[in-house]
């Protein structure tokens, strides 16, 4: 097989290499500071907040911001796997998102991947400490806003890019056993696949 090697040695443009990863193998130099991300994300939320009329519109905006990131991350991760494999079955794709992609984005796998009991086309990815809401306190009058909508946008982008169109929404769910700190809410990303995806998957398996 003809294998392309990543052009690490000839990359001169900062956009061609991971932030901080100046050819170094150490983890601390290949990761981005959580503080830096939080300040940047905080600004993104404030930017959109001043340009929307409703809470749900703000969530849509955050999703749209994440969507493009999802598409690009999928492209990058596919490129990095040695044989350019692409997931074709629904379960494998969800596994890919909640483990491989999650690890590369957040340094850990998602806490769980569950299938909805009531609806066959709905799946849930659960994360107990999503980085988008680490330092965020949503005011009471923002009723039910989930600032993790950015991540749901990324999931949507990844699934769409891989040919699994789905509607992904983020929800903050209060934890039952309140063991403070660090968190009292978990993020649930509800993935609702389009009917065509399930039909195709049924044919394949």
């Amino acid at each position: 097989m003809n294998r392309l090697s990543a052009p690490t040695s000839i990359s001169v443009n900062i956009l061609d290499r991971p932030i901080g990863g100046r050819g170094s193998r150490s983890t601390s130099e290949q990761t981005v500071s959580l503080s830096m991300f939080s300040y940047l994300y905080s600004e993104i939320v404030q930017y959109h907040q001043n340009r929307v009329d409703s809470i749900s519109e703000l969530e849509r905006k955050l999703e749209a911001t994440g969507y493009g990131v999802g598409l690009r991350v999928l492209e990058l991760l596919t490129f990095r796997t040695k044989d350019y494999t692409r997931e074709t079955s629904l379960m494998n794709m969800l596994q890919f998102v909640s483990t491989t992609a999650w690890k590369s984005l957040f340094g850990k796998a998602a806490d769980s991947l569950e299938r909805s009991i009531d609806h066959a086309d709905e799946y849930m990815i659960v994360d107990y400490a999503p980085i988008t809401s680490t330092f965020v306190s949503v005011p009471a009058d923002f009723g039910g806003l989930s600032v993790d909508a950015y991540i749901s946008g990324m999931i949507g982008g990844m699934l769409d890019g891989a040919g699994f169109p789905a509607r992904v929404t983020a929800h903050s769910v209060a934890l039952e056993d309140v063991v403070l700190p660090p968190r009292k809410e978990k993020a649930v990303f509800l993935v609702k696949f389009a009917a065509s995806v399930l039909e195709r998957d049924a044919h394949l398996s």
């Binding site: 300040y39 965020v136 009292k184």
Partner: protein, 152 residues
């Protein structure tokens, strides 16, 4: 040996946060708190001006009141580089007030400044900040009551 109150004053003297840290703390109304906040801000500024010793290069030009000790309580103030003052009151001889203030400052930078719904100089309403301060106070209080103290 318990903490009584915490209040935070912004750089123009407005009170942006206040809460009592134990049941022993005297009940003070919000209007009184606003008055205390701005009065302390003014006294702090006067104290900085009145300071007779000036280090070369104006190194201590931001000094103001750092500590006030009375028979019934001790007040400790910490001013950040951006002019926000964190003030903690406690019963006399409570140790580590300065350290606790610095940790509260860290919590402020984490939970408040990184919150997209917080506007600078405005009142702090962050739930995370309140919970984190409570957890910190509880931790310090327990550590103090377990370890034998020199003062008794």
């Amino acid at each position: 040996m318990v903490f009584l109150h915490l209040f935070v004053v912004n750089r123009s003297g407005g009170l942006i946060h206040h809460r009592h840290l134990s049941n022993k703390a005297p009940k003070i109304g919000t209007n009184e708190w606003l008055r205390i906040g701005s009065t302390f801000h003014s006294l702090h500024a006067i104290a900085a001006e009145a300071s007779p010793v000036r280090l070369p290069g104006g190194k201590n030009s931001n000094d103001g009141i750092e500590e006030m000790v009375t028979g019934g309580m001790v007040l400790r103030s910490f001013q950040t580089r951006t002019g926000i003052k964190f003030v903690l009151t406690a019963e006399p001889q409570t140790p580590d007030l300065g350290q606790v203030l610095k940790e509260i400052y860290v919590l402020y930078t984490e939970c408040v400044l990184k919150d997209p719904f917080y506007e600078l100089e405005m009142p702090i309403r962050s739930e995370l900040f309140v919970h984190a301060v409570d957890a910190l106070v509880e931790r310090v209080q327990n550590a103090v009551s377990i370890s034998p103290t020199k003062h008794r």
